[in-house]
Symmetry: C2
Subunit: 118 residues, 2 copies
DNA sequence: TTGACATATTCCTATATGGGAATGTATGTT
DNA sequence: AACATACATTCCCATATAGGAATATGTCAA
Protein backbone atom coordinates (compact mmCIF):
# COMPACT_ATOMS: atom_id res chain seq x y z
CA UNK A 1 0.00 0.00 0.00
CA UNK A 2 1.23 3.50 -0.72
CA UNK A 3 1.11 6.49 1.52
CA UNK A 4 -2.33 7.80 2.46
CA UNK A 5 -3.92 10.26 0.05
CA UNK A 6 -3.15 13.92 0.60
CA UNK A 7 -6.88 14.42 0.60
CA UNK A 8 -7.34 11.92 3.39
CA UNK A 9 -7.01 14.51 6.13
CA UNK A 10 -5.48 17.85 7.06
CA UNK A 11 -2.30 16.22 8.34
CA UNK A 12 -1.51 14.84 4.90
CA UNK A 13 -2.68 17.93 3.04
CA UNK A 14 -0.46 20.19 5.10
CA UNK A 15 2.62 17.98 4.86
CA UNK A 16 3.35 19.68 1.53
CA UNK A 17 5.28 22.95 2.01
CA UNK A 18 3.66 24.64 -0.97
CA UNK A 19 0.25 24.08 0.53
CA UNK A 20 1.34 25.62 3.79
CA UNK A 21 2.60 28.59 1.81
CA UNK A 22 -0.77 28.92 0.17
CA UNK A 23 -2.55 28.87 3.50
CA UNK A 24 -0.11 31.43 4.87
CA UNK A 25 -0.81 33.65 1.89
CA UNK A 26 -4.54 33.32 2.40
CA UNK A 27 -4.20 34.23 6.05
CA UNK A 28 -4.15 37.84 4.93
CA UNK A 29 -7.53 37.49 3.28
CA UNK A 30 -9.35 36.27 0.22
CA UNK A 31 -7.28 36.01 -2.96
CA UNK A 32 -7.73 34.96 -6.58
CA UNK A 33 -5.60 32.13 -7.96
CA UNK A 34 -3.33 34.39 -9.97
CA UNK A 35 -2.32 36.25 -6.84
CA UNK A 36 -1.11 32.99 -5.40
CA UNK A 37 0.64 32.10 -8.62
CA UNK A 38 2.62 35.33 -8.41
CA UNK A 39 3.24 35.13 -4.69
CA UNK A 40 4.51 31.57 -4.79
CA UNK A 41 6.21 31.73 -8.15
CA UNK A 42 4.68 28.39 -9.09
CA UNK A 43 2.93 27.46 -12.33
CA UNK A 44 -0.81 28.06 -12.34
CA UNK A 45 -1.85 24.42 -12.83
CA UNK A 46 0.17 23.34 -9.80
CA UNK A 47 -1.44 26.05 -7.71
CA UNK A 48 -4.90 24.96 -8.83
CA UNK A 49 -4.05 21.38 -7.95
CA UNK A 50 -2.84 22.31 -4.51
CA UNK A 51 -5.95 24.39 -3.97
CA UNK A 52 -8.05 21.40 -4.90
CA UNK A 53 -6.39 19.32 -2.22
CA UNK A 54 -6.87 22.07 0.34
CA UNK A 55 -10.50 22.33 -0.68
CA UNK A 56 -11.05 18.61 -0.29
CA UNK A 57 -9.88 18.66 3.30
CA UNK A 58 -11.88 21.80 3.97
CA UNK A 59 -8.93 24.08 4.60
CA UNK A 60 -10.12 26.63 2.05
CA UNK A 61 -13.42 27.82 0.61
CA UNK A 62 -14.03 29.25 -2.84
CA UNK A 63 -16.29 31.96 -4.15
CA UNK A 64 -16.90 32.92 -7.77
CA UNK A 65 -16.38 36.52 -8.74
CA UNK A 66 -16.61 37.12 -12.46
CA UNK A 67 -13.99 35.01 -14.09
CA UNK A 68 -11.93 34.88 -10.97
CA UNK A 69 -12.23 32.39 -8.15
CA UNK A 70 -11.55 33.87 -4.76
CA UNK A 71 -10.09 31.46 -2.25
CA UNK A 72 -10.45 32.00 1.44
CA UNK A 73 -8.81 30.32 4.41
CA UNK A 74 -10.90 28.04 6.58
CA UNK A 75 -8.63 27.38 9.52
CA UNK A 76 -11.19 25.19 11.22
CA UNK A 77 -9.81 22.23 9.29
CA UNK A 78 -6.49 22.71 11.05
CA UNK A 79 -7.88 22.41 14.54
CA UNK A 80 -7.31 18.64 14.75
CA UNK A 81 -3.63 19.22 14.06
CA UNK A 82 -3.45 21.89 16.71
CA UNK A 83 -5.27 19.72 19.23
CA UNK A 84 -2.98 16.80 18.60
CA UNK A 85 0.31 18.62 18.69
CA UNK A 86 -0.71 20.76 21.65
CA UNK A 87 -0.53 17.78 23.97
CA UNK A 88 3.19 17.61 23.26
CA UNK A 89 3.79 21.21 24.20
CA UNK A 90 5.03 19.94 27.53
CA UNK A 91 8.05 18.46 25.77
CA UNK A 92 9.63 21.74 24.87
CA UNK A 93 7.95 24.41 26.95
CA UNK A 94 9.87 25.72 29.93
CA UNK A 95 6.58 26.72 31.40
CA UNK A 96 5.45 23.11 31.60
CA UNK A 97 8.82 21.93 32.76
CA UNK A 98 8.59 24.33 35.67
CA UNK A 99 5.11 23.02 36.40
CA UNK A 100 6.44 19.47 36.38
CA UNK A 101 9.02 20.42 38.97
CA UNK A 102 6.34 21.89 41.23
CA UNK A 103 4.16 18.82 40.89
CA UNK A 104 7.10 16.58 41.66
CA UNK A 105 7.89 18.57 44.76
CA UNK A 106 4.29 18.35 45.90
CA UNK A 107 4.40 14.60 45.44
CA UNK A 108 7.61 14.33 47.45
CA UNK A 109 6.33 16.31 50.38
CA UNK A 110 3.11 14.36 50.27
CA UNK A 111 5.01 11.12 50.62
CA UNK A 112 7.33 12.41 53.30
CA UNK A 113 4.39 14.01 55.06
CA UNK A 114 2.26 11.92 57.32
CA UNK A 115 0.05 10.57 54.60
CA UNK A 116 -0.52 7.09 55.86
CA UNK A 117 -0.11 5.51 59.26
CA UNK A 118 0.59 1.77 59.13
CA UNK B 1 8.47 14.38 -8.77
CA UNK B 2 6.84 12.35 -6.05
CA UNK B 3 5.74 13.49 -2.66
CA UNK B 4 8.45 14.62 -0.25
CA UNK B 5 10.07 11.91 1.82
CA UNK B 6 8.47 11.11 5.14
CA UNK B 7 11.88 11.69 6.64
CA UNK B 8 12.05 15.17 5.14
CA UNK B 9 10.51 16.83 8.18
CA UNK B 10 8.16 16.35 11.10
CA UNK B 11 5.13 17.40 9.05
CA UNK B 12 5.61 14.50 6.67
CA UNK B 13 6.59 12.04 9.37
CA UNK B 14 3.49 12.78 11.39
CA UNK B 15 1.09 12.63 8.45
CA UNK B 16 0.96 8.87 8.98
CA UNK B 17 -1.64 7.91 11.63
CA UNK B 18 0.34 4.94 12.87
CA UNK B 19 3.27 7.16 13.62
CA UNK B 20 1.07 9.50 15.61
CA UNK B 21 -0.18 6.48 17.52
CA UNK B 22 3.37 5.51 18.31
CA UNK B 23 4.17 8.98 19.61
CA UNK B 24 1.00 8.94 21.67
CA UNK B 25 2.02 5.63 23.16
CA UNK B 26 5.47 6.96 23.98
CA UNK B 27 3.97 9.99 25.68
CA UNK B 28 3.53 7.78 28.73
CA UNK B 29 7.23 7.04 28.89
CA UNK B 30 10.02 4.95 27.46
CA UNK B 31 8.96 1.69 25.84
CA UNK B 32 10.57 -1.25 24.07
CA UNK B 33 9.49 -2.06 20.50
CA UNK B 34 7.47 -5.09 21.49
CA UNK B 35 5.30 -2.98 23.75
CA UNK B 36 4.40 -0.86 20.76
CA UNK B 37 3.79 -3.94 18.64
CA UNK B 38 1.25 -5.15 21.16
CA UNK B 39 -0.31 -1.75 21.76
CA UNK B 40 -0.79 -0.98 18.08
CA UNK B 41 -1.53 -4.49 16.91
CA UNK B 42 0.86 -4.02 13.99
CA UNK B 43 3.57 -6.39 12.78
CA UNK B 44 6.97 -5.82 14.35
CA UNK B 45 8.79 -4.93 11.10
CA UNK B 46 6.29 -2.16 10.33
CA UNK B 47 6.70 -0.75 13.81
CA UNK B 48 10.46 -0.75 13.43
CA UNK B 49 10.14 1.00 10.11
CA UNK B 50 7.89 3.68 11.52
CA UNK B 51 10.27 4.15 14.43
CA UNK B 52 13.10 4.63 11.98
CA UNK B 53 11.23 7.46 10.30
CA UNK B 54 10.44 9.05 13.63
CA UNK B 55 14.10 8.72 14.59
CA UNK B 56 15.24 10.37 11.40
CA UNK B 57 13.16 13.47 12.04
CA UNK B 58 14.24 13.50 15.67
CA UNK B 59 10.83 12.78 17.15
CA UNK B 60 12.14 9.84 19.19
CA UNK B 61 15.40 8.79 20.79
CA UNK B 62 16.65 5.25 21.42
CA UNK B 63 18.58 3.63 24.19
CA UNK B 64 19.92 0.11 24.32
CA UNK B 65 19.00 -2.01 27.28
CA UNK B 66 20.15 -5.58 26.91
CA UNK B 67 18.49 -6.98 23.84
CA UNK B 68 15.73 -4.44 23.99
CA UNK B 69 15.75 -1.00 22.47
CA UNK B 70 13.90 1.55 24.52
CA UNK B 71 12.33 4.35 22.56
CA UNK B 72 11.57 7.67 24.10
CA UNK B 73 9.56 10.61 22.86
CA UNK B 74 11.39 13.78 21.88
CA UNK B 75 8.59 16.25 21.39
CA UNK B 76 10.98 19.02 20.50
CA UNK B 77 10.79 17.89 16.88
CA UNK B 78 7.06 18.71 16.90
CA UNK B 79 7.51 22.32 17.90
CA UNK B 80 7.66 23.60 14.30
CA UNK B 81 4.26 22.04 13.67
CA UNK B 82 2.86 23.62 16.79
CA UNK B 83 4.32 27.00 15.92
CA UNK B 84 2.91 26.91 12.42
CA UNK B 85 -0.58 25.75 13.27
CA UNK B 86 -0.83 28.01 16.29
CA UNK B 87 -1.05 31.08 14.08
CA UNK B 88 -4.33 29.72 12.74
CA UNK B 89 -5.86 29.31 16.18
CA UNK B 90 -7.65 32.57 15.54
CA UNK B 91 -9.73 30.82 12.89
CA UNK B 92 -11.64 28.64 15.28
CA UNK B 93 -11.11 29.99 18.76
CA UNK B 94 -13.96 31.93 20.28
CA UNK B 95 -11.44 33.57 22.52
CA UNK B 96 -9.72 35.17 19.55
CA UNK B 97 -12.99 36.00 17.88
CA UNK B 98 -13.99 37.92 20.99
CA UNK B 99 -10.66 39.66 20.96
CA UNK B 100 -11.18 40.63 17.34
CA UNK B 101 -14.49 42.22 18.28
CA UNK B 102 -12.84 44.26 21.01
CA UNK B 103 -10.08 45.41 18.68
CA UNK B 104 -12.63 46.36 16.07
CA UNK B 105 -14.56 48.39 18.61
CA UNK B 106 -11.41 50.16 19.71
CA UNK B 107 -10.65 51.02 16.14
CA UNK B 108 -14.15 52.39 15.60
CA UNK B 109 -14.07 54.64 18.65
CA UNK B 110 -10.59 55.75 17.70
CA UNK B 111 -11.83 56.90 14.33
CA UNK B 112 -14.96 58.61 15.69
CA UNK B 113 -12.97 60.08 18.56
CA UNK B 114 -11.05 63.27 18.01
CA UNK B 115 -7.94 61.56 16.71
CA UNK B 116 -6.50 64.33 14.65
CA UNK B 117 -6.81 68.06 14.77
CA UNK B 118 -6.69 69.70 11.32
C1' DT C 1 -18.60 35.41 -33.22
C1' DT C 2 -13.80 35.90 -32.18
C1' DG C 3 -10.39 36.65 -28.85
C1' DA C 4 -8.31 37.39 -24.37
C1' DC C 5 -8.09 36.20 -19.66
C1' DA C 6 -8.60 33.20 -15.40
C1' DT C 7 -8.83 28.55 -13.82
C1' DA C 8 -9.36 23.63 -13.79
C1' DT C 9 -8.35 19.15 -15.59
C1' DT C 10 -5.93 15.53 -18.01
C1' DC C 11 -1.90 12.93 -19.44
C1' DC C 12 2.68 11.42 -18.47
C1' DT C 13 6.56 10.24 -15.54
C1' DA C 14 9.89 9.73 -11.75
C1' DT C 15 9.72 8.76 -7.08
C1' DA C 16 8.52 7.57 -2.33
C1' DT C 17 6.07 5.06 0.08
C1' DG C 18 3.60 1.27 3.60
C1' DG C 19 2.45 -3.40 4.29
C1' DG C 20 3.72 -8.45 4.01
C1' DA C 21 7.20 -11.97 3.98
C1' DA C 22 11.72 -13.43 4.62
C1' DT C 23 16.08 -12.69 6.43
C1' DG C 24 19.93 -10.47 9.05
C1' DT C 25 22.00 -9.16 13.61
C1' DA C 26 22.69 -8.76 18.49
C1' DT C 27 22.22 -10.42 22.98
C1' DG C 28 20.87 -13.55 26.65
C1' DT C 29 20.29 -18.48 28.12
C1' DT C 30 21.27 -23.32 28.81
C1' DA D 1 27.81 -24.30 20.74
C1' DA D 2 22.89 -24.29 19.96
C1' DC D 3 18.74 -21.91 20.59
C1' DA D 4 15.45 -18.33 21.75
C1' DT D 5 14.37 -13.53 22.02
C1' DA D 6 14.18 -8.66 20.37
C1' DC D 7 14.80 -5.80 16.62
C1' DA D 8 16.28 -4.01 12.10
C1' DT D 9 16.67 -4.48 7.20
C1' DT D 10 15.72 -6.06 2.57
C1' DC D 11 12.81 -7.46 -1.27
C1' DC D 12 8.57 -7.03 -3.75
C1' DC D 13 4.38 -4.62 -5.12
C1' DA D 14 0.30 -1.63 -5.43
C1' DT D 15 -0.61 3.07 -5.03
C1' DA D 16 -0.52 8.11 -4.63
C1' DT D 17 1.68 11.65 -5.64
C1' DA D 18 3.92 16.56 -7.57
C1' DG D 19 5.53 18.83 -11.42
C1' DG D 20 5.52 19.83 -16.51
C1' DA D 21 2.98 20.25 -20.75
C1' DA D 22 -1.10 20.45 -23.17
C1' DT D 23 -5.86 21.06 -23.22
C1' DA D 24 -10.61 22.03 -21.57
C1' DT D 25 -14.01 25.25 -19.46
C1' DG D 26 -16.03 29.59 -18.27
C1' DT D 27 -16.45 34.61 -18.45
C1' DC D 28 -15.91 39.23 -20.21
C1' DA D 29 -14.72 42.35 -24.18
C1' DA D 30 -14.90 44.04 -29.04
Amino acid sequence: MARAATTADAFNAVAEPRRRQILDALAGGERPVNDLVRLLGVAQPQVSKHLRVLREVGAVDVRDEGRQRLYRLNGHALKPIHDWVKSYERSWSERFEALDVVLEELKQSDEGDGGGDE
